[in-house]
Amino acid sequence: MSATSPIAGSRVAVSARLVRAEVMKIRTTRAWWLFAGGFATLTALTALFGWAEHHAELYPPSGLTNEADALAQAAADRTPAGATAMAASMMTSGQGLLVLVTVLLGVHVVTSEYAARTMTSTFLVTPRRELVIGAKLVTAAAFGAGFWAIATAADGAMTPVFLTAQHLPEAALGSSEVVRAVVMGLLAYVLWALFGLGLGAVLRNQVVAAVAAIAIYAGGFAVAELVVHLLNDASRASWLLGLAVLAPAEASNVMIASGRAFQGAPPWWVGALVLAGYGVVLAGSGVAAARRQDVS
């Protein structure tokens, strides 16, 4: 059997058809409609919420104890810098929540195969398991990018209308700050997809992996916030506060935020590096786990 059979093909050709098989797996069950419908609904809700939130910032209600501060802030929001920050925020509306859908999709792509016991036939067709997990990583990342495109399209339709309606400079939309936030948003969606998939490949159990993903996401965020607030009272060492970026959800915030995501937060690229670190380490662990483990 020295000649390569036509079916074997190169590593690239095999990977390409494995990705297409993964897309088919997602589209041939109800999960496809759940994820697409769920994401579209959440996008609409968070976009509306973003509108309401920024509208409220521009028109603080009277009778606040710190009304003067609120009015000063509203005035500052109408400066070019304020408008830019607002545009960047609206163009990434609700991203903190929306990336969770991507995480769960990543978890689903691998754990559903263990749950339905289809991993057996998947690995029988392709015994090179690293190629299978690689195709799943590519597929999850592609869907993450697709989710980003949907969310950005919705925000992109809403934000100029908001800016015009509020007589804010529309030029703010084209600023490098906004472009950076949106592009980093794409990176965030992709990395969170890898994060979820890697976690799923390591844990295998659908429920356990989904709960763990949410716990790491929300729990890590809560712990980081708590520590930051405690330290904030106790210490003036701002680099300590910056360590909150080690929580993946905070890293995600840091990389898309215009200005500082929280007091003492490191620059945006630190957040990008931290989240990329988590994504790559988990994806790698997922491949290693799949190669090593028995499928029975």
Binding site: R27, R117, L124, V125, L186
Partner: protein, 296 residues
Amino acid sequence: MVIAVAVLVVGGLLGWLLLRDRARPGRGEHYGAAPSGAEPQVPAELPVGAPIPEELRPLGRVEVSGLTKMYGGVTVVDDVSFIAEPGRVTGILGPNGAGKTTTLRMLLGLVIPSGGVARIGRSRYREIEGPVRTVGALLEASGAAEGRTGRDHLRVLCRAAGLPLIRADEVLDAVGLARAGGRQVHGYSLGMRQRLGVAAALLGDPQVLILDEPGNGLDPAGIRWTRDLLRALAASGRTVLVSSHQLAEIEQLADDLVVIATGRVVASGTLEAVIGAHAGLEEAFLELTAGRGEIR
């Protein structure tokens, strides 16, 4: 501007990825549901491919030597060796929990052996390029996702293996599931699931067939059909390896036998040789496995 282009590019790519299958024929066809409870009729003609030329038959020889599997400190498969010859049906017979399934899973690269090696032709399963063209396997009834249709289950496998999607319809026809193929596996009886599993094993018209308890859940007609199919596959020069704990079934089917109890081979050889001086297979089996595990 940059954002708009990026959104369009990513959205377009994803849309193309998702929609490219829609144009293909066969998708979304709805077949009339079979009356509930009725097992579908199987075509009279058995789905056996062209005979394997004499000179290629040695490539289908299955050789297991010294396979051992330990979980924790427990040895579930202990130094199992046997050969399944092309052109013959080899039966692995043993009580439940004897290690039959684990042995087959090691042979197929799904479970990593603690010791020993299993080869098909000259290669281990994981070294075979495009293995579905060489080896077809049935490990558990269907192994398909409940929410996917039988046809989509097979089409996913075709896609991953690089086979034309039409193969899915051909094997569905061959096992009598043509009408049920458009329904979700969720509604299949155990017998229909076994047929779907057989269909998956036949996808690549393989030279070697490995089936774990293929008779489970089948009605008498289904058992008869499966037996005729496996005999015909062996007669065409293919290698057929079947595990079972049903003595009567294996006695009518196998040319050669490997009797396993508590993880060890207790007898092997031709059916006649294993029966030897005993009155029949049942007496031989009971004596060989006496005191070794549970017999049902």
